[in-house]
């Protein structure tokens, strides 16, 4: 038989077999991935957010990286697994969702919670006792999982314990979470802090015990007994949890649920969950989410196939969007690029006068526009955290006292000369008489930061410094900074995920400074025990740590004010501009309109408490 098989026969047989297999619909060997979607004419919302499809290792364990659209790190995670509440950044109030309300309590005996009143601003922190050591959460009646069972306190507590396995930062502040009754649970704060509210209410969307309860119990057994991830039991549990792969998506509470059969590497569908408490508030039957980063999504946006995308588009793409009639939303990110100094190397900049002089020499507005068009907005208050948050923490008088470092090159020259710099013709000399020549590094791949670095180098060179701009691959540049291999560097300031200034000050004073030790270096070497005219002798390390501790907002405000003033005076780094979004917001195709530019919703940090979800949960979006 084999001997009689010639080439022609073999090809004929193979071809016939292949055709027969195709027409009989035989199953294909694994590895091709799988996808199903029915375009049945239902009302669709088109979004874009990157995800890892199952063929590439994506999975349905939403706690573990590469989970498909997990909350809170993807903007569509919330519309599937609704959080206990979402935050209004404009006025520091809450939109309770799965939770009906929560309160901070002293002791665990009082578990009564006054629930939020519809239509009234909700900010439980404002009434928290200064010595509170518990947070009690009351769940909303009528919120069910998509399988029809009610959401219980056990689900919430199990979720929190699962986050313990993943070393969630919340567990630095809490050490226990327990069920009080079916709709009430309580967390004990080992380190009482106002930031616990955001971690518990916003960052840990309840997930069902039917899927994760077993791991929650193991977590209680291991970590509740005092063990840590350094113990074998902890490591084993983490390993087990990291490798846990549910067969499909967990039941959801939100108005949409993943349709697993629809997932390809290019797009996936979220289908309407009719059992959701919020189902009637959302005018769409389906969310089609397109996968991909900016380079591949830009063309889909320009084809008007996407209603909302947050990819950080290039200025050229943004201009094309505008000329094609696609609206651009510019909500803040509460962060942006700044100029860092290597104090260990550049002793001449240890004098704050030199940094202040430099701040006056830089046109931050120009820098922002060149880097990101209208979405690069010059920092005004130079307080170490975003301008929009400053009035929430500082009084009008305190805000007025901040130096806004207007562009004034005469003043800049005077301050630099005061710091020992001298002019030689058109060029600056260092206090030791050598040329004021420096290298400025920035991440090569971040188009906006890269443009900011180039422009900053040109501005300072024109001013008389000799600046050599150096683009370094984005993975290496922060390591170089941490290891002290730089003169000036463009790195980030602020924080997009947490509105408390503590996180921005951590970025300002610790990241690339004391935390540089994680990369085996000394970073900027900015001294944290220092003296400022505004606050006298200060221990910035202790102040940053203290700023997130305790439940007294007054104490925290005093701390934040002192740090803001110190930052404004000492300028450990020079914040250049804040990155606002240039989000694609298509109107009139599938949805009627996005909020007006002056709507408070456009003050949302758009990755942290995203705008579509906030609109859907309030019934604010209208389909065409």
């Amino acid at each position: 038989m084999v001997a009689s098989m010639n080439r022609r026969k073999f090809l004929g047989t193979a071809g016939a077999g292949f055709a027969a297999a195709m027409f009989t619909g035989a199953a294909m060997p694994g590895g091709f991935g799988k996808a199903v979607m029915a375009q049945d004419g239902g009302a669709e919302f088109h979004g874009a957010y990157p995800y890892t499809d199952p063929g590439a290792g994506g999975h349905y364990n939403t706690f573990v990286t590469n989970g498909i659209l997990p909350p809170p790190s993807s903007i569509y995670g919330e519309v599937m697994w609704a959080p206990l509440g979402m935050y209004f950044w404009a006025d520091a109030t809450w939109l309770p969702l799965v939770a009906a309300g929560w309160e901070f309590k002293v002791g665990a005996d009082d578990t009564e919670v006054a629930v939020a009143v519809e239509g009234e601003a909700y900010a439980p922190l404002n009434t928290a006792p200064a010595d509170a050591d518990h947070i009690v959460v009351k769940l909303r009646e009528g919120v069910n999982w998509s399988d029809g069972t009610p959401v219980t306190a056990q689900d919430c507590v199990d979720t929190i314990w699962c986050y313990r396995i993943m070393s969630n930062t919340a567990w630095r502040y809490i050490d226990d979470a327990q069920v009080v009754d079916d709709t009430t649970f309580i967390c004990h704060m080992s380190v009482p802090s106002t930031v616990v509210e955001r971690y518990v209410i916003r960052s840990m969307s309840p997930l069902p015990s039917s899927v994760y309860g077993e791991f929650a119990q193991k977590s209680r057994d291991v970590f509740g007994a005092g063990m840590t991830l350094d113990d074998d039991e902890g490591k084993q549990l983490l390993d087990e949890f990291n490798n846990f792969r549910p067969d499909g998506p967990a039941p959801v509470t939100g108005p949409f649920a993943i349709d697993p059969a629809s997932i390809t590497n290019a797009q996936m569908n979220l289908e309407k969950n009719a059992n959701s408490y919020w189902a009637d508030m959302v005018p769409f039957d389906r969310v089609v989410n397109f996968n991909g980063e900016t380079d591949t999504i830009s063309a889909v946006v320009l084809s008007k196939d996407i209603d909302y995308a947050t990819h950080g588009f290039s200025v050229a793409t943004e201009n094309q969007m505008i000329s094609d009639g696609i609206r651009v939303l510019r909500p803040p990110t509460y962060s942006g690029p700044g100029m860092l100094f290597n104090y260990g190397k550049l002793t001449e900049f240890q004098d704050a006068k030199a940094r202040q002089g430099l701040a006056h020499a830089i046109d931050r507005g120009q820098n922002g526009v060149i880097a990101l068009g209208q979405s690069g907005v010059a920092v005004q208050y130079m307080a170490g955290f975003a301008d929009a948050l400053v009035p929430l923490w500082l009084s009008e008088e305190e805000v007025a006292g901040l130096n806004t470092y207007e562009l004034d090159q005469d003043m800049a020259s005077a301050m630099l000369q005061e710091a020992g710099f001298t002019m030689d013709g058109d060029s600056w000399k260092k206090p030791d008489g050598s040329d004021a020549a420096y290298e400025l590094s920035f991440p090569a791949e971040f188009a906006d930061w890269s443009a900011a670095g180039q422009d900053l180098a040109e501005q300072l060179t024109e001013f008389g410094f000799e600046i050599d701009p150096r683009a370094i691959t984005y993975t290496q540049q922060p390591i170089d900074v941490d290891q002290g291999n730089f003169d000036f560097a463009i790195r980030g300031w602020g924080n997009s995920t947490n509105p408390h200034p503590h996180f921005s000050f951590t970025q300002a004073f610790f990241t690339h400074n004391t935390l540089a030790v994680n990369n085996g270096g000394t970073g900027t070497q900015f001294p944290l025990q220092t003296t400022s005219e505004a606050a006298g002798d200060v221990d910035l390390e202790a102040m940053v740590v203290a700023s997130a501790q305790g439940m007294s907002m007054d104490d925290q405000k005093a701390n934040v004010v002192a740090m803001a003033k110190t930052y404004n005076e000492l300028l450990p780094a020079i914040p250049l501009w804040e990155r606002f979004g240039n989000n694609c917001a298509l109107e009139g195709v599938r949805l009627v309109a996005w909020p007006a530019d002056d709507d408070p919703l456009l003050k949302q940090s758009f990755y942290a408490d995203n705008i579509p979800a906030m609109m859907w949960f309030q019934g604010l979006m209208e389909a065409v």
Binding site: M22, G33, L238, I263, M268, G292, T296, F503, N518
Partner: protein
């Protein structure tokens, strides 16, 4: 004198032939052309895989640092939050002595184990490669066949009509197409023809298969996969056809000057028959070696084109793995590419040795 010399030569060669007959089979195998080439191929694979192992670790930043930086810069996480996430994700020790990592890598390799992804816990490198490689073979392989067939035909016509307007235009176009980077053409395709002129629906054509199409052996799946592959295939064909055209033209011109072609024409053989059977068949032979080598590179896919079309081939996975510093996946993909290229070269060597026995010595 000449006869005497010949007799001496015969006498000397007789013992050589006897010795050849007495040589053990082992020596015959060891001395064979195929064995030597196979050994060289294995050595190449070993050296390249070793080189790759060390090269990927020279990339700036390790997976943990890349992950932390991405969380901080892209999603605005604090260092603590990002580091906590990284701690839970990466159960790896990137500081383990390099030599130990290398010996582990080699011993696993010998067992056919390419390891597991660093950023996709629990996912084996083999499964990742399996899930991607078929799409690339389909798109790049199809485009190679189309470009080869079309390019050879056009090249042959160019040579046959050398000096004509057609030859001039085709040669210019071939040179231009051969010099355009495929990723640039991919972007131009999308922006000009997809977005501006709306000749095709780029949104629907992204990816490798439509949402809604089960993956199975069926006509519907085949046509759907082809629909999604048309864009990458077109880009590959357009950017590679020029090379085949020019190669075939050059080869055909040489063949046209051969005596047997002149003789055929003198015998009055019809021109179409001369072109097809006397010229074409002979001119295409040298291109088969090139084709064999090109087949070896099919597996490599296209690092830059696949991400542009969101096409889930091996090139896109390689691109992602480089960005994530996923060492095991990088090593695995490079190893597969290396093996396919080395095997293709090996086959090309064998083919060439059949065509030209002189190179066996």
């Amino acid at each position: 004198m000449e006869l005497q010399a010949s007799a001496e030569m015969i006498q000397q060669s007789a013992p050589d032939q006897e010795e050849e007959v007495r040589r053990s089979p082992v020596k015959v195998i060891l001395g064979s052309f195929i064995f030597r080439r196979a050994l060289r191929a294995l050595l190449t694979i070993y050296l390249v895989s070793t080189f790759i192992f060390f090269l990927v670790r020279l990339l700036p930043g390790d997976p943990v640092q890349v992950f932390i930086n991405k969380q901080m810069t892209q999603y605005g996480y604090s260092y603590d939050d990002a580091a906590n996430q990284a701690r839970s994700l990466f159960a790896i020790d990137v500081d383990r002595p390099l030599l130990l990592q290398y010996t582990d890598y080699l011993s696993n390799l010998l067992r056919g184990d390419l390891g597991t992804s660093m950023v996709l816990p629990g996912t084996s490198v083999v499964s990742i490669i399996q899930s991607r490689i078929w799409w690339t073979i389909f798109s790049v392989g199809t485009s190679l066949i189309i470009a080869f067939v079309l390019g050879s035909l056009i090249g042959m016509l160019m040579a046959y009509k050398r000096g004509s307007t057609f030859d001039g235009i085709a040669s210019t176009i071939g040179s231009i197409l051969n010099s355009i980077p495929n990723y640039l053409l991919a972007l131009l395709f999308i922006i000009i023809f997809g977005v501006r002129l709306n000749w095709f629906n780029y949104t629907k054509m992204r990816g490798s298969v439509s949402s809604g199409q089960p993956v199975e052996f069926s006509w519907a799946f085949f046509t759907d996969a082809l629909y999604h592959a048309i864009l990458p295939i077109s880009v590959y064909v357009v950017t590679s056809i020029g090379g085949w055209m020019l190669l075939m033209k050059s080869s055909t011109i040489s063949t046209l000057e051969e005596d047997h072609v002149t003789a055929a024409r003198a015998r009055g053989v019809p021109e179409w028959r001369v072109l097809g059977f006397y010229v074409g068949r002979n001119a295409i032979l040298p291109l088969f070696t090139q084709l064999t080598i090109a087949i070896g590179f099919v597996v490599g896919g296209s690092l830059l084109v696949e991400p542009i079309f969101q096409y889930q081939g091996i090139g896109m996975r390689l691109y992602e793995s480089i960005n994530q510093r996923d060492y095991p996946v990088l090593q695995g993909i490079f190893l597969v590419i290396t093996i396919s290229v080395v095997v293709a070269l090996f086959v090309a060597d064998l083919l060439y040795s059949r065509l030209d026995p002189r190179i066996r010595s």
